[in-house]
Symmetry: C2
């Protein structure tokens, strides 16, 4: 688990990015920020900072930050009991996002951190660009050197059901 100091350091960097993106947050929301690093012990390289705005049984909205060159671990949102998995739209608000999804392999402009990143169809998102990821589709995404802020708009979010490619990634 991240130490309190590590958590605060990364949280403060994420809050700076939200500020650069002119995202206004309440104090309560800032205090609810979570960090998804899978307990891999390399949060600056593999991690994602998240604030959930709303998550009803029908839809969900989050604001997400990636530190410079930070990567969100590859995962998918599986179908469960005949219910379609989470469908999500990423809208870049700040910085540059290199999003990789399953599909035809494309030339890539950034490198994955290790072998647990298999999706190889690259989509580059600049501010104002967005992309919708179908359910049950492997994806990972990495920020450029400025970091990035992404609004995630989606169907209901059930994080514990996410399936990560890296067997060492722990939901915390």
């Amino acid at each position: 688990m991240l130490s309190k100091d590590e958590f605060e350091r990364v949280k403060n960097k994420a809050l700076e990015l939200f500020k650069k993106a002119h995202i206004v947050l309440t104090e309560d929301e800032k205090n609810k920020l979570t960090i998804s690093d899978g307990d891999l012990g390399k949060v600056d390289e593999i991690g994602l900072e998240i604030i959930v705005y709303v998550n009803t049984d029908r839809y969900c909205a989050k604001e997400m930050a990636l530190l410079p060159n930070q990567t969100c671990a590859e995962h998918r949102h599986p179908n469960i009991d005949g219910q379609r998995g989470k469908e999500e739209t990423f809208r870049c608000r700040y910085g540059k996002v290199y999003l990789f999804v399953e599909g035809e392999k494309t030339p890539r402009h950034v490198e994955p951190p290790n072998e647990y990143f298999t999706a190889s169809h690259e989509i580059i998102l600049n501010p104002g660009d967005q992309y919708t990821i179908p359910p049950n589709t492997l994806h990972w995404f990495k920020a450029g050197p400025q970091g990035a802020v992404i609004s995630e708009l989606s169907s209901h979010s059930d994080d514990p059901s996410d399936i990560f490619t890296d067997p060492n990634f722990k939901r915390t």
Copy 2:
């Protein structure tokens, strides 16, 4: 219907508000902006400017602008064929929003434009504040003197099924 000149005038004011809110939009999105004024002929008083980011069968996200003191006409999103009506979360990004929903009457800080505004429970949203409106609930909302920008996050949007209180309001 709004004349081309009227449409452009209101559209440009809305785009200025999005700019003040630091919302980055593509040219394509700017060109897709719609104005919902019900053909009432008083768009500066009753109207809403909308850009739809995404609308799948499961969720929808829009960016909305209200000109200074402009009011969105009262309406509700009914249940249809046993399916729950649209549930929506308004998140204020810029300016001040006076949102009125069905419920216990409260003191109000702004006046409705006419008698077709009946919901009398006021919620004030400043930047960073949000409120979730249940399905089938009458609501209307008005900007303060600076205008306002609101992110709408919701279940699937089916505008033609909306029911407006004013019988003269025409879906165009």
